[in-house]
């Protein structure tokens, strides 16, 4: 059963941008695409733990600011020749609010 937490207004995250959410076990990046979809991923690139929330968002991907790895927002998978994966978490928009599933905190605690 899902238990959605209201995080913030959609407009608090710029289009083709991201903001970071602090948790007890590290940061999660919340992305907003040009089409107003939202995605939540660990804020650490599988390469050298670069802060993905600071990357350039294009289509449904983000490019890590440190060494230009391109990460899929949908799967967390590194694109192209690079190999690696970032954990992703359920996220959605409702009435202009960004919601994350409380279970992601549990998943992180268990990890």
């Amino acid at each position: 059963m899902t238990d959605w937490i209201d995080i913030a207004a959609l407009d608090d995250v710029p289009q083709r941008g991201a903001r970071m959410v602090k948790t007890a076990l590290g940061c999660v990046a919340v992305f907003r695409t040009a089409e107003d979809e939202v995605f939540a991923l660990d804020n650490a690139c599988p390469h050298k733990a670069g802060p993905l929330a600071e990357g350039i968002v294009h289509g449904k991907s983000v490019t890590c600011p440190l060494h230009n790895w391109v990460i899929s927002l949908e799967t967390g998978q590194a694109q192209g020749a690079d190999e690696g994966r970032v954990a992703t978490y359920p996220a959605r928009v409702e009435s202009g609010r960004i919601l994350l599933d409380r279970s992601f905190l549990r998943a992180r605690a268990a990890a």
């Binding site: 937490i5 608090d12 710029p14 959410v21 802060p51 600071e54 990357g55 350039i56 289509g59 992180r108």
Partner: protein
């Protein structure tokens, strides 16, 4: 049975007749007479020989081996004295009498010499053959030359000599240059381009006489009394068909030797081709119809059916840097409408003249890439009513197809002419490719396409690319990234010419293959748009790399570095105290002095940025832009303030420069330095722009680097005053950001366009460049730290903090 063929004149047309005959294996015993002491060469390529881009050897079309291989008896340097058509013999100058079965006239034309007083002085020449060209190449920077005639030939002569450093003046009787091919607007742009090349142009100028000294030309006298001194005077005012011999032989002659559609003269055994002929009232000076005539003449000689038809002609000028094209009829008139496109900044002009939905004429200047397509519309009288709205933008915009550099070529029909000189259509090139020609050289060898004047080389390569796909790589610059096939240069051109002022407009109009670009193209586009449209375009932080979005340099652990500006490297105890306080307050782990004479606070947490900036702002400091593709620092020495060797106030100039330039965005980082004397303590000669102060003023040099590449600057200009130095630096900075590719430092850009080009533009467009720089700075010369600290501070905080939320 072998027939005896005598050819009089080894020109481009008669040479082509022989090629066609030998290619077809026709059985002729050929004797070739030529008054010039040499064989066939490509006369239209004399201009590149003159400018030094080619040598005579490069433009020889037939060499001794070719004549030998085909059994041609060459009698070069010999004229024909007379012709006996009854007996079918010619008599050479030396008295030899030779019989013929067929005779071909290729006597060409004579340049028209205006019978001005003094026209027979030594040093008054035409521009016609290799001898004339050699006279002109004999001139150098110490010489002056006057060219009478502002038509195609005169301008090619003028530009060729100017390229050799000769001081050239063009005198033209009409109100604008090339008035037969260009309208006034295009004539104006052409004139401007020639003036930029250092050529003096006088239009509406009447020549009165030629003044001499000791039998040699000294000056041209105009009817307003102006004297134009010269060492050489070139008359390029037109040609007259050379009909003397034909007339003496009793052939029908008007302006030229009369020929019918089979290129036959009034005598069935005598043919004529080239500039000496008159067909249906017209005479010919351009190469394309000459080649058509040559083909027809060869077929007639071989007793094949053929017919010469006059076609629409188009003109291109072979002057480097002046791209112009004209075709058809472009005079104003009742019922005619114009579609005009202008881009003053780029010097681009396009005009189409339309009547009853058919294009009658086209004039293009500055960007002639679509000329063949427009020429096809004129020739085929295509109904353009459906594409009228977008017609002027060219074939890539028609029918809703996205813009692909190759789409324009792919869209051409098979009969579209690619090579105007040789009359080679796209279909012929495609056939050659299908038959195994896989590169430019092979296509050239089998079809001759691009083998004459060479301006269609790019098009031929594109036809190759369209047909061979991945098997052929156009030897050109790579595209920006996988989102587009266009190069940086293509896109910059589109942004300027189509007035694309937003990123979605670029994606749409340039056919981006992704929905919203990627981390490679978006920062480039963001820069191009704000550089070209500073007032219209809104900077997009989401298309900037994190450093520029957050106005701080990201470090490997995700923290940031903060560098406040120290104007010209000068600071105060109060500033230093504020920096020390900030370092304490935000627990900055590392404080370092940079190479740009300021202090770097490394290891600041992202969420502390707005606060540390606010504290630094309170002490009067602003962003140092240490993170930007823009102005970084202006390094200085202490100059006359303290140094016993200083020649000028280098520190003062450095501070002024930094205050004028700060906040400006450039294709890559921009580092400056000002040294107070040639001892160069500020290391100005390895900066993007460096100033060395000397007693007499300021040496502004550009293109230095001390990174992955090590480059010494090269002198741009020396100026007398501080203000001039500041303005020159603004001008060159503006030129750099309007033209360079994103992420090219000045030295890389300079390597592509050349210092001379930069110098020329800075000198000739100085004021306009400075003005555009100032317009842009009216938006960007401000402190982003203050703005972010005051209005966007919350963006630097976590969206939410769930650290205290119970996991269970």
């Amino acid at each position: 049975m072998t027939q005896k063929l005598i050819v009089i004149g080894a020109g481009m047309a008669s040479g082509r007749v022989l090629e066609h005959l030998f290619d077809a294996g026709a059985d002729f015993d050929v004797t070739l007479f030529n008054a010039e002491p040499r064989g066939n060469y490509n006369r239209i390529m004399l201009s590149p020989v003159l400018s030094g881009e080619k040598t005579y050897e490069d433009i020889v079309t037939h060499d001794t081996d070719w004549y030998d291989a085909n059994g041609v008896t060459c009698r070069f340097g010999e004229r024909i004295a007379s012709i006996d058509r009854e007996a079918k013999t010619v008599t050479a100058e030396n008295g030899d009498v030779l019989p013929y079965d067929k005779l071909v006239f290729g006597t060409g034309s004579n340049p028209f010499m205006i019978p001005l007083p003094g026209h027979d002085l030594e040093g008054v020449i035409a521009y016609r053959d290799l001898e004339d060209t050699q006279r002109m190449t004999g001139l150098g920077p110490d010489n002056k030359c006057v060219v009478i005639g502002g038509g195609l030939l005169g301008l090619e002569a003028a530009a060729g000599m100017a390229a050799r450093g000769v001081d050239v003046t063009v005198v033209h009787i009409m109100g604008h240059l090339m008035e037969r091919q260009l309208d006034e607007a295009a004539g104006y742009l052409l004139r401007k381009a020639l003036v930029d090349k250092g050529i003096t142009v006088k239009c509406s100028a009447n020549s009165k006489g030629i003044l001499g000294e000791n039998g040699h030309v000294k000056a041209l006298l105009l009817d307003d009394g102006t004297e134009l001194p010269c060492d050489l005077l070139v008359m390029a005012v037109g040609i007259r068909p050379n009909v003397k011999l034909a007339q003496e032989a009793g052939l029908a002659v008007g302006k030229g030797i009369h020929v019918d559609d089979q290129m036959m003269t009034s005598d069935a055994h005598v043919l004529a081709v080239g500039e000496c002929v008159e067909h249906d009232g017209a005479i010919f000076g351009l190469v394309a119809p000459l080649y058509d005539q040559a083909k027809v003449a060869a077929q007639t000689l071989m007793e094949q059916e053929a017919r010469f038809v006059q076609k629409e002609l188009s003109t291109k000028l072979k002057v480097t840097g002046c791209d112009l094209f004209s075709a058809g009829d472009f005079a104003d008139g009742e019922g005619r409408e114009d579609i005009v496109f202008r881009d003053p900044a780029r010097g681009v002009y396009r005009r189409l003249v339309i009547e009853n939905n058919v294009v009658l004429g086209a004039v293009m200047y500055g960007d002639t890439s679509d000329s063949n397509w427009f020429f096809g519309l004129i020739r085929d009288k295509t109904d353009i009513s459906d594409m009228r709205d977008t017609l002027i933008f060219g074939p890539a915009y028609q029918g809703g197809t996205p813009l692909d550099p190759l789409a324009a070529v792919a869209a051409l029909p098979r009969d579209a002419e690619i090579c105007g000189c040789n009359g080679i259509s796209k279909g012929q090139i495609e056939d050659a490719i299908a038959a195994g020609a896989t590169d430019l050289g092979a296509v050239r060898a089998t079809t001759k396409a691009s083998g004459s004047c060479g301006t269609c080389t790019g098009l031929v390569e594109q036809v190759l690319a369209v047909n061979l796909g991945d098997d052929f790589v156009i030897p050109a610059a790579a595209s920006i990234c996988g989102c587009t096939d266009m190069t940086h240069e293509d896109v910059r051109r589109m942004i300027k010419s189509q007035r694309l002022t937003s990123m979605p407009a670029v994606w749409q109009e340039c056919g981006w293959k992704t929905s919203c670009g990627c981390h490679v193209c978006r920062p480039a586009l963001n820069f191009y748009l704000l550089a070209d449209w500073p007032l219209e375009y809104q900077d997009d932080p989401q298309s900037r790399f994190i450093n520029e979005r957050k106005h701080a340099n990201i470090q490997k652990d995700g923290t940031f570095s903060v560098v406040p500006r120290m104007w010209g490297g000068i600071t105060t105890p109060n500033e230093l105290r504020a920096i020390a306080d900030a370092a304490d307050k935000y627990m900055v782990p590392t404080v370092k002095v940079t190479g740009g004479q300021r202090i770097d606070l490394l290891g600041v947490k992202g969420e502390d940025l707005p606060d540390i900036w606010a504290d630094l702002n309170a002490a009067g400091m602003v962003s140092g832009h240490a993170y930007s593709k823009g102005l970084r620092t202006v390094k200085t020495c202490v100059g006359t303030d303290h140094c016993r060797f200083g020649t000028q106030d280098s520190t003062g100039l450095g501070i002024k420069l930094e205050k004028e330039l700060w906040g400006s965005w450039t294709p890559h980082k921009l580092k400056l330095a000002v040294s107070g004397c040639p001892r160069n303590c500020a290391e100005a000669t390895c900066k993007d722009i460096g100033v060395i102060c000397v007693d007499s003023g300021y040496q502004v040099s550009i293109g230095g680097a001390a990174g992955m590449d090590l480059k010494e600057t090269e002198l741009l200009l020396q100026v007398a005053t501080e203000q001039e130095a500041i303005d020159v630096i603004k001008a060159v900075t503006q030129l750099y950001r309007e033209n360079a590719r994103y992420l090219d430092r000045i030295y890389k850009w300079m390597g592509k366009v050349g210092l001379d080009w930069i110098k020329e533009r800075v000198e000739t467009e100085h004021d306009a460049l400075v003005e555009r720089f100032e317009i842009s700075q009216s938006i960007y010369r401000k402190d982003p730290w203050a703005e972010h600290a005051q209005t966007k501070a919350d963006r630097y905080q976590p969206l939410a903090n769930l650290a205290l939320e119970a996991a269970e």
